[in-house]
Subunit: 464 residues, 2 copies
């Protein structure tokens, strides 16, 4: 055994590894007696404590056992794990990434340069230092009580949502919460959705064997008169900023929607508030849930859009009379967010970092929004702008006969990626004409927006 | 403005907070011009940099704006977030915790004293330091490629599972993965399950409008002859350690199960390998998936049981021909595990910590297992022991006519909690007689097991 006193690996660990390897190789067979710690220490010219430590490690991992008055003996190896980290399964290339354009108006972007990494790191470190076993025990399937309390407070102040912590369910993403809801309601429900809409939700409902009726929209969002003509029990809407059209549903339509839900038993509204955080004009309109007097609104929101996409933390507010159903059919599923992440979000909100972050992001996005709209003034001759009051994307509808696919291709040739609206349509309701593109500006700095806009002018033949 | 140079709050932040409050209170109204940084610095007797910092913070959060050559002006407050962290929603007491017994043989326990907190903290810290924006961008819905590669390697070595990373889906818990599977297959399937079984899976399948047929078990597990008589398309089994009976399915029965699946198109086996990590006698039996030559096994496993319950990371291995279905109907759901947690697990495995941890836990659990079985020798006159070859719980079936409820009540009177088997039965298949209790030993140190066993002797009238 060659020990290296200068190595960064402690001596006891060198001894431990050497003996472990010898046992694994069969050099030290089952039942073989090891030298006493005194002998080995003398032989290796190290302190006896060093050998004690090495033996203790080997005992704790089941390689050797101590027999009182007799010494240390090699254990049976069967059942012991031996994992080689250099094992590599058949490697399949995944370099399928698309050629990246110079400027990408992705509607799903989030600006991550402003993410408060230092604060995040500090909170994470503190939580791991302070909390002991609690962190690693299974928590409440609904989510930690303190986080739910904090979220309830935030939703009340920022979104006018009326909820007690017992109504809140924490989950890893809106998609998961929708799955959970489906599992609570069971298959075979009839839902109403708009088109275009959040396609993932449509697919998810249909995959779980629900019927989806597509309800016509006007400039105020889902038409409640048409909704009433369907047999839908649950309406899925995004009143604060319809995705992808960007319609902000006015208060009157919200009231009509609530009246529809209250008009028959078993009717519900799923209010997906994804993307409600940033609004640039006028007073924020409170969430639909805040107006609901009949306990019909299931409210869903997320931190993925306002903090970072990889922060998989969403929240759902259930009407009080659905709590029984949740306990019976939903609470069997353990909370999908780790306790550490839950505590992190809780402190991020409680210590005021979230307020600061939201205001900072709003200022950044408002700057980009204003620059984009300013640049787009020159585009007025060929298109109409919509969805510009909130969120982080806008829509351009061509009035000069240009088609979506042509616009996308011409832009791509100039190194700018824009997105077609037609991909968001669901069901039978296909667009009459594909003449609209989406421009998301969350991930483009103001200077880049100016350059990209100039390229779009060139692409689409707009005179300066 | 009273600044406190001795405070731990930096001067610039004191200035920032003071002005922010003044703006929020209306003391500084919309459009009001602020003193120049030079003036304010002179007035407050601080450096100009300090005031610059405070103003920059106010600008970045949208409270004030800088107008070139004119100075700083208060912005419109509408749309700015103002969250008071002392807001508390109606507080509802949740002190419903059951009176804790002195000794709890919970079948769901995990020993957390050995959780390597320092390693976990170090890995977490390093990841947050090294990785920048990548961490916070949305990752692959299937999970990080590198983690899937590591898991594929681990499963190959430890469980004999043959999987390439492209077949692996990472998710926040087995329950979530089962939900995802249901969403892939769609409702209206017919599943086969054992009884007693993992009740949550039964409820989950049924909530999503699937039929569940209960198939009789013998001492080797699910009876494949009976399975073949049903119309089930998917069989849900736990071959490595049936929950809760603890049956280890022998190789022959495994082969029969695979033959059933291969005998007709569209048949699948869900192999839930929850609880396969610890085995105390004989060679580990490879997972069913490893014997599968017809691509019929969907393998599910978790780190929640082997590392800590709050680590919500599970993995699923899909047969290759189901990857298309996953991409079409499952990949719309974003990965429910945060990228940070995924990287943490990856390094925990890659750096060899997991191997050490598994061997350590196995040694601890084996010690407890042996002590419990030794203590239970005195119980042979009144009961039969089963399920003792693997996992972290055993079953006692009374042969003296004692009923489960009576046994639980008598134990509880002596401060020991044991669990009844009858709660695990599902469907019509109720137990002929409720005469069995479950004793989980993962969370009880050896000394406590001895004391608790003595109490049980007293409770159940066993002479020493």
């Amino acid at each position: 055994m060659n020990l290296d006193a200068a190595s960064s690996v402690p001596l006891y660990e060198q001894i431990y590894k050497y003996i472990k390897k010898d046992i694994q190789n069969g050099g030290l067979p089952f039942k073989k007696r090891l030298p006493s710690t005194r002998q080995l220490a003398k032989y290796l010219q190290v302190s006896r404590t060093t050998v004690d430590l090495a033996y203790a490690q080997l005992v704790s991992e089941g390689y050797i056992e101590s027999v009182p008055c007799k010494g240390y003996f090699v254990c049976e190896l069967e059942g012991l794990y031996r994992l080689e980290s250099n094992y590599m399964p058949e490697n399949i290339s995944i370099d399928m990434e698309l050629k990246k354009p110079a400027y990408d108006f992705s509607p799903n972007g989030v600006d991550l340069n402003s993410f408060p990494q230092n604060i995040w790191r500090r909170l994470s470190k503190n939580i791991l230092l302070e909390e002991k076993q609690l962190l690693f025990q299974l928590g409440d399937p609904q989510g930690e009580w303190k986080l739910r309390q904090t979220v309830a407070g935030y939703l009340h102040q920022a979104r006018g949502v009326e909820a007690s912590p017992e109504q809140i369910v924490i989950g890893a993403g809106n998609d998961f919460l929708l799955l959970l809801l489906c599992s609570m309601f069971g298959a075979g429900k009839t839902l109403a959705m708009e088109s275009p809409t959040y396609k993932k939700a449509y697919d998810l409902f249909r995959n779980l064997s629900n019927e989806v009726r597509i309800v016509e929209m006007d400039t105020q969002g889902m038409r409640t008169d048409r909704l009433a003509e369907t047999d839908a029990q649950i309406a899925y809407v995004m009143p604060s900023h319809q995705y992808p059209l960007g319609i902000v549903m006015p208060v009157k339509r919200r009231m009509q929607l609530l009246a529809w839900a209250a008009a028959a038993p078993g009717r519900y509204i799923i209010e997906d508030d994804y993307d409600s955080e940033f609004r640039y004009r006028g007073k924020p309109i409170p969430a639909l849930q805040g107006y609901d007097r009949h306990d019909r609104v299931i409210y869903i929101g997320t931190f993925s859009k306002s903090i970072a996409p990889a922060i998989r933390v969403s929240y759902m507010v259930l009407p009080k009379h659905l709590l029984g159903l949740y306990r019976e059919r939903g609470s069997g599923i353990s909370c999908t967010v780790s306790r550490i992440d839950q505590m992190l979000i809780e402190r991020f909100l409680d210590e005021g970092h979230y307020e600061r972050h939201l205001n900072k992001m709003r200022a950044i996005y408002k700057g980009r929004h204003d620059v984009l709209l300013e640049e787009l003034r020159a585009f007025r001759g060929i298109c109409r702008i919509s969805g510009e009051n909130a969120g982080v994307h806008i829509l351009l509808t061509f009035t000069n006969g240009m088609r979506q696919d042509e616009a996308i291709r011409l832009a791509e040739e100039q190194g700018v990626r824009v997105y077609g609206l037609s991909g968001y349509f669901v069901g039978e309701a296909q667009p009459a004409q594909a003449d609209t593109v989406i421009l998301g500006y969350a991930n483009l700095p103001e200077e880049e927006i100016r350059v990209a806009a100039a390229s779009l002018k060139k692409a689409w033949g707009i005179q300066k």
